[in-house]
């Protein structure tokens, strides 16, 4: 008996729920084709960064004009005048175009904006390119000690609303876990127009170089342990918000995808494990998921989805404070 692995995510019919998430792998057409070959049912492209676009454009502006008009022998500056600097989203749009034309699976673009205007502007640009769905990558570090959490949250909601107004394609919102009231925030994001929530973002974090005494931000690959935070919120939110849920961060092995499904996710997204092991890992997770479902007598993924969510288990407090309590009490001192 075969298990029906098909899922619907963001209104897209996918062959199974294991999807490559935004990573350098989906930023390259050769890798994209390898992922599709490995069975990827959809693709989330890396984020188009508004800040990066603006930074690049200003850097070109500065670079071209540096030294120009200051010295008689180099009056036109130090760089040749080029036809086009491709500082806008054109490279990204090329990727979208190629992925759509060549991959043969739904393409979900991802966007990280800075300004309200920028979010909707680039969302429209991407929508016009014919993407199947858009994932908004909305996390930012709210470092201003004068800015309240309510203000930060309001900003998030406004930008989701503005993008929702700007485009018609399905909209996922990928967020970080650092909200005081995660549940409420999730619901409000959905109210603002999110068709799916993607849990959770991972970011560059500062590190210290002890030799140079400098701060050296970097991004390390995820480990499976990080999945637990995702599982918690998948389980809590499943059935409580009118949106699809996607798991990302910590999905490495088939068991991880199974857990996400049981917690309530529509899809499980992979990046670190694919970067570490290659596209074949996606096949392995998909096949492992299927095998587990089959072994455990499930007909389909939808049958299993949310079966260990907070609503579905006998002791819902497990996902809240009691989780901590039980861990403590189950600990057996050895003295």
């Amino acid at each position: 008996m075969s298990v029906d692995l098909s899922v619907e995510y963001l209104g897209l019919a996918l062959a199974h729920p294991v999807v490559p998430s935004a990573s350098p792998l989906t930023g390259d057409i050769d890798h994209i084709l390898a992922l599709v070959e490995a069975g990827a049912p959809a693709l989330v492209l890396p984020s188009l960064f508004e800040e990066q676009i603006e930074h690049d454009a200003m850097a070109v502006h500065h670079g071209i004009e540096q030294g120009a008009g200051g010295f008689a022998e180099a009056a036109s500056g130090y760089f040749p005048d080029l036809n086009d600097y491709n500082t806008g989203p054109s490279q990204y749009l090329d990727l979208v175009r190629r992925a759509r034309n060549e991959a043969g699976v739904p393409v979900i673009a991802s966007l990280n904006g800075v300004s309200t205007g920028g979010w909707s502007l680039y969302a429209r640009v991407l929508a016009d390119e014919g993407i199947d769905a858009l994932e908004l990558n909305v996390y930012r570090v709210a470092a201003d000690v004068e800015e309240s959490s309510a203000h930060v949250e309001l900003g998030y909601l406004k930008l989701v609303e503005s993008v929702r107004l700007a485009i018609d394609v399905p909209l996922a919102v990928k967020i970080g876990p650092y909200f005081s009231a995660m549940g409420s925030m999730a619901r409000r994001l959905v109210d603002a127009g999110a068709d799916a929530l993607v849990l959770f973002n991972r970011f560059y974090q500062p590190d210290f170089d002890l030799e140079t005494m400098e701060v050296a931000p970097n991004l390390v690959l995820s480990n499976p342990y990080e999945l637990r935070l995702v599982l918690r919120w998948l389980a809590i939110l499943y059935g409580r918000v009118e949106a699809d849920l996607a798991a990302t961060t910590g999905v490495h092995e088939p068991e991880d995808a199974v857990k996400c499904l049981l917690a309530g996710s529509s899809v499980s997204m992979m990046a670190s494990a694919l970067l570490r092991h290659g596209p074949g890992q996606l096949t392995k997770v998909r096949d492992g998921l299927e095998a587990w479902l089959e072994t455990n007598g499930y007909d389909s993924v939808s049958q299993a989805r949310g079966s260990l969510s907070q609503r579905a288990i006998a002791d819902p407090v497990t996902f809240e404070r009691a989780n901590y309590m039980r861990t403590l009490t189950s600990y057996s001192p050895t003295w």
């Binding site: 200003m58 010295f71 180099a74 130090y78 600097y85 500082t87």
Partner: protein, 1189 residues
């Protein structure tokens, strides 16, 4: 034929000529040289964009290794049947002369477009005159002179058309800068006109004459006395025909364009008695003068020579009114020793041959090196020729108090007509003023019916340079080829310039002044210096102000205030209605910046939108009594500095008389120290508690503005003078000071970037930190004055060949005008610390010759004993040979001195034996010791000689100093070493002579604005390599190592300062040829120059710039000669490259190409590393070893 409606454009002379050249050529061979470089760059850019010529083929643009190479390449292209051209100027044209004789001798259609520039004589000058084209007048090329931007366009076409028909090649020229860089509104000649004018049959005939194995011929034979002469005369008919063919072409062009040109163009009274004859841009000023004089009813005229070669005496004579009695021929060149300058001689001969002996001809010289030439001067010339007893030979525009040749004139005689709006803009090179003004000229030229003209004046500094933009707008065509001296509007884009420039002096009474002021409506007036306030009140100037910097920053544009000030200019100038002006500005913003990205356009538009809200009228208030006459230099400055240098620094060099100038181009060194420009906003402030005396700040400082001394306190230090105990065992009993020169620092921040000492509590706090200058200025000025009085340390007290030790030695290269953060100058400064007091520098033309030798001041200086580097620049291409000549001179004089000491042994006594023994031993193990001994001996020798008579003693007087070891250094950039001077460099490498060569490798032609050289790496974007350089960098070190006996050091100070210092010391020690290749970051790399030393670290870490020393002495000792000072590469090339715009930009423009080139570049690195690894068995690194000492 009927005139075809033309499209107008506001462009400069270079572009005007290049547009035609690109349309009508197939092969374009180029080499960068100011002021012609933009023509080649434009042609290259158009070809890169796929812009075809008239026949649909994209012209091949090839950059050569020199102008001689470019001439050779076009000669070959012509011989193979292509339509070919090149662009050049000055020395570049001289290098083309041999080929020019050949091309003309072979009757080959070709065109060279020349932005005419001064030939280097007693000095180099990048500016315009006719000395270069006059040096080519004997080559057999036709010479057609354009006087304006429009003519540069029209005559480019006349040249390309006529040469095909006449078979004589054309040299088309226009004045460097005045025409090549002037922006003017002109009518463009469209393709349809070109098609109508080009005769395809003539092109076919050119092709048929080409070398072709299907119809083989031989060309370039060697001929004997029997026939060479006859063969030379055989071409005469082609020249006899040439003038009439040229006029016929002018007529055909005129019929289609409506612009009718003559071989000789006459303006003025048809019954003139007095006529001025000249050619080039001076015609503009002369035309204005003639118009003015016509209004006064004077019978004067102007005859402008267009076709100079062949000189058609009939056409000339016909163009001159029959009533002419007196002619003044004005030459923009000087031919010392000739009866007269060339155009004068031609005119005299022409009139004589035409039998017009009743016309008296006099010769005037004007405008050398772009010296201003104004209508008032022209009036002065007419006055001179009308004067009884006027001079037959004179100069105009200068005051010659030596030979009395100069004529007087009334500088206030001429006034520009009221319908011409005149505006002047004072800014800094870094603030975008020039760019904005080019833009404004285009806006008016292209969106109104007005004519527009823009001309831009720069000073010679690369850091903190000042610019003055001259803009004219008029309903009538603008001929005025001279600077504006009575402006209707003066904009001062940097507040401090209002008090230190002649901005207000050049404002007409009642003019509008626009100030960029950070002080707001209430305080701006009070911040204007009192002297300037007085001028404002005296002239009734109306002052407006805006805080452009605040608006630019708010809009996210940083320091780029240009669009804000441009908007305010249009508001105040009333040339266009404000809303139309703003729309036009935004249109230009979209056009200029659109391709850089939407955000650039958006932010500039925001700045425009906010500008007028910030503009306010400054109400004049009272004037204080603090009106001081600026003292440019203190009284203690040397006499020459007070008499001459100070005047140059005050922008009043035009007023210096001939007698003030050295007769042979010889100048004193040590003058930069008197030029206190104080351009930094922030300066490094020292924190002694954190300092570890490593010396790296001083080593890295490009401007010698941060220095170290060890001293015994004398109690005389000013309050606030800091010092510390030495770290480590050096300098027992002394205190250490690290001192900034606050008025000489450029604020580049390199010193802070390299400082390795951090505060334990706060990582960002280093042993030196950049802080706002003003709060520290008075204290640091006093400290630096005291610091200079502290005696220099005895060299025996320091380990000279170490980073720390070398930095306690006095730099004899200081305060240059190089770019802030320059990557070259730290090496030169180090060189002077190590050997400066016994060095002669042969300096190739390039950045280093400009910041090293461009007036007003020089950074090369001398120590308290009066010793220091002696410096000379010959040319660009010959520098290695120039330096070799110095060494040979040194050696022969030394031999002579030894012979003479031997001959005078009895008179000199034991001293002779000592001297001869020192010379024979030549113990180079400690050169400081050797030189010290030699100096003592020579001092004693000179003392003895003073008491001796006889020819031998006098001869020895002249060569005695050659007994002291002299360190000869051949210095230049990669353009010289890898390209134009490579042949000579290679020869000197092979010479085996004791000579040192320092290549300051910026990997690009920096001085002329970033053209690719053979040092440019694969994948980098540069001019002439706009698509990313496709070939790898030449491995110059490898070539030098192949000789086996050459010391080669590849260094990067920022990557390993210890290795750099050691390599310099070893190169000096090596008794043979030494070559140091020094990695020198440059603004053309597209990096933040404050971090240039860190970039060097990455360059070495990636293996992109491996550090090594190849010392033949080691091989003699049985060890491998090559030492790799770099570790195995630890980061990929891509990581290094991604931080530099020169590489990273290609990733944006053409990602696929960039990827491929990056991969190839990585292969280059891997290959080279592998190769070097095989040459060595020892790896080591000396990195930072001394910091721990």
């Amino acid at each position: 034929m009927r005139a075809i409606q033309a499209v107008s454009a506001t462009i400069d002379g270079n572009e005007a000529a290049a547009r035609i050249a690109h349309k009508l050529s197939e092969v374009i061979a180029v080499y960068p040289i100011t002021p012609a470089s933009p023509m080649g760059e434009l042609a290259d850019a158009w070809s890169l964009k796929g812009q075809p010529n008239l026949w649909g083929v994209v012209p091949e643009v090839v950059e050569m290794q020199s102008e001689a190479g470019a001439a050779g390449a076009i000669h070959g292209a012509l011989q193979a049947g292509a339509l070919s051209t090149t662009f050049t100027a000055s020395q570049g044209l001289l290098l083309m002369i041999p080929n020019m004789f050949k091309i003309a001798g072979e009757l080959t259609p070709a065109v060279i477009h020349v932005a005419a520039r001064t030939i280097a004589t007693h000095a180099l000058s990048i500016f315009g005159d006719h000395s270069d084209v006059m040096a080519a007048r004997q080559t057999g090329w036709a010479m057609l002179s354009s006087s304006s931007v429009q003519e540069a366009h029209d005559f480019a076409l006349v040249s390309h058309l006529t040469t095909l028909e006449a078979r004589v090649p054309f040299l088309h020229f226009f004045d460097g800068f005045r025409t090549s860089h002037e922006i003017a509104k002109i009518d463009l000649i469209g393709d349809s006109v070109l098609r109508e004018l080009v005769d395809e049959g003539l092109i076919s005939r050119h092709r048929l004459r080409a070398l072709n194995p299907n119809q083989p011929v031989l060309r370039g034979s060697a001929q004997n006395p029997d026939v060479f002469f006859q063969a030379r005369e055989a071409a005469n008919p082609f020249y006899d025909n040439l003038a009439s063919l040229t006029q016929a072409t002018m007529d055909r062009v005129g019929a289609l364009t409506g612009r009718h040109h003559r071989l000789f163009e006459y303006h003025g009274s048809p019954v003139a008695e007095d006529v001025v004859v000249l050619m080039g841009s001076g015609a503009g000023a002369a035309t204005d003068a003639i118009k003015h004089m016509a209004d006064e009813g004077r019978r004067v005229g102007l005859l402008v020579v267009k076709l100079y070669r062949p000189f058609d005496i009939a056409a000339f004579s016909d163009a001159l009114p029959a009533t002419t009695r007196r002619v003044a021929v004005l030459d923009r060149t000087k031919e010392p020793g000739a009866v007269g300058d060339p155009l004068y001689l031609d005119v005299v001969a022409a009139l004589a041959e035409r039998g017009r002996r009743d016309v008296e001809v006099v010769a005037g010289r004007y405008g050398l090196s772009s010296k201003e030439f104004t209508p008032s001067m022209v009036a002065g010339v007419f006055d001179e020729i009308a004067r009884v007893g006027g001079r037959r030979h004179f100069t105009v525009g200068i005051a010659d108090d030596v030979t009395g040749l100069s004529i007087d004139y009334d500088p206030d005689w001429h006034r520009e007509p009221d319908h011409v709006k005149r505006a002047l803009f004072y800014g800094l090179g870094s603030d975008g003023t020039v760019g904005a003004n080019k833009n404004s000229a285009k806006i008016v030229g292209e969106s109104t019916s007005l004519y527009a003209q823009g001309y831009f004046v720069y000073d010679s500094k690369k850091a903190g340079s000042r610019t003055v933009s001259h803009l004219r707008f008029s309903p009538e065509p603008i001929d005025s080829t001279y600077l504006i001296d009575r402006a209707d509007l003066v904009a001062v884009h940097q507040f401090e310039l209002v008090g230190v420039t002649d901005a207000l002096d050049r404002a007409a009474p009642g003019a509008t002044v626009l100030l960029n002021s950070p002080y707001g409506p209430d305080a701006t007036w009070s911040h204007i210096p009192d002297g300037a306030k007085l001028k404002i009140l005296d002239k009734g100037l109306v002052v407006w102000a805006v805080d452009a910097l605040a608006i630019a920053r708010e809009a996210g544009l940083g320091m780029r205030t240009n669009t804000v000030l441009q908007t305010c200019f249009f508001e105040l100038a009333s040339i266009l209605p404000t809303n139309e002006a703003i729309a036009a500005i935004k249109g230009q913003i979209a056009k200029t910046y659109g391709k850089m990205g939407e955000v650039v356009v958006r932010r500039n538009n925001e700045a425009v939108d906010q500008a007028l809200a910030g503009l306010y009228r400054v109400e004049a208030g009272g004037v204080g009594a603090n009106i001081t006459v600026r003292s440019i230099v203190p009284d203690i400055a040397p006499d020459f500095v007070q008499r001459v240098t100070a005047i140059l620094m005050d922008d009043r060099g035009d007023h210096l008389p001939v007698s003030a100038m050295p007769v042979d181009g010889t100048f004193p060194t040590g003058t930069a120290r008197w030029e206190k420009r104080s351009i930094a906003n922030e300066i490094p402030i020292w924190v002694p508690d954190l300092c570890i005396d490593c010396g790296r700040c001083a080593l890295a400082c490009p401007h010698a503005a941060i220095r170290l001394k060890a001293f015994v306190p004398d109690g005389g230090a000013p309050e606030g003078f800091l010092s510390k105990d030495p770290t480590g065992k050096d300098f027992p009993g002394k205190r250490i000071v690290v001192q900034v020169a606050p008025d000489d620092c450029t604020g580049c921040g390199v010193c802070v970037d390299v400082c390795p000492a951090h505060s334990k509590e706060m990582a960002k706090h280093k042993a030196i930190n950049m802080e706002l200058k003003d709060p520290h200025l008075d204290r640091e000025r006093a400290n630096f004055s005291y610091f200079l009085e502290i005696p220099e340390i005895d060299r025996s007290e320091v380990k000279v060949a170490t980073v720390k030790g070398s930095q306690f030695l006095e730099p004899l290269f200081e305060f240059s005008g190089a770019c802030a953060g320059c990557g070259e100058t730290p090496y030169l400064k180090l060189l002077t610390q190590l050997v400066g007091d016994r060095a002669i520098i042969a300096n190739a033309t390039g950045c280093s010759s400009i910041y090293g030798g461009n007036l007003p001041t020089t950074p090369w200086t001398k120590n308290a004993e009066g010793r220091g580097p002696a410096w000379a620049n010959s040319l660009f291409e010959d520098n290695a040979e120039f330096g070799l000549g110095m060494r040979l001179a040194q050696e022969t004089q030394r031999q002579d001195a030894i012979l003479l000491v031997t001959a005078l042994a009895i008179e000199l006594g034991p001293l002779a034996e000592e001297i001869l023994e020192t010379a024979a031993k030549n113990d180079r193990s400690d050169l400081d010791l050797l030189v010290g001994t030699q100096r003592k001996q020579v001092a004693a020798l000179k003392e003895k000689l003073a008491g001796l008579d006889g020819p031998l003693s006098r001869r020895l007087d002249g060569v005695a100093d050659s007994l002291i070891e002299t360190s000869i250094w051949i210095v230049g950039g990669d353009g010289w070493a890898y390209d134009i001077g490579f042949g000579g460099l290679d020869h000197v490498l092979a010479s085996g002579r004791n000579i040192n060569i320092l290549v300051l490798d910026t990997e690009v032609y920096s001085n002329t604005g970033g053209q690719a050289s053979k040092a440019t790496p694969r994948g980098a974007i540069a001019k002439y390599a706009a698509g990313g350089k496709k070939t790898g960098k030449k491995d110059l070190g490898q070539i030098a190592m192949s000789y086996g006996n050459v010391y080669v050091g590849q260094v990067a100070m920022g990557a390993n300062p210890t290795q750099t210092v050691r390599a310099f010391a070893e190169a000096e020690q090596h008794e043979g040829v030494s070559l140091l290749i020094a990695y020198s970051p440059c603004i053309a790399h597209g990096i933040d120059m404050s971090t240039q030393m860190s970039h060097q670290k990455d360059a070495a870490a990636s293996g992109y710039w491996p550090l090594f020393r190849f010392d033949p002495a080691r091989e003699v000792a049985g060890d491998p000669a090559l030492y790799l000072d770099s570790r195995q590469p630890t980061i990929p090339f891509k990581e290094f490259a991604s931080k530099e715009a020169r590489f990273a930009m290609l990733g944006r423009v053409n990602p696929e190409q960039a990827d491929a080139l990056m991969k190839d570049a990585q292969k280059d690195i891997d290959d080279r590393w592998h190769f070097y690894e095989q040459m060595v068995t020892i790896h080591r690194t000396a990195e930072y070893a001394e910091v721990e000492e």
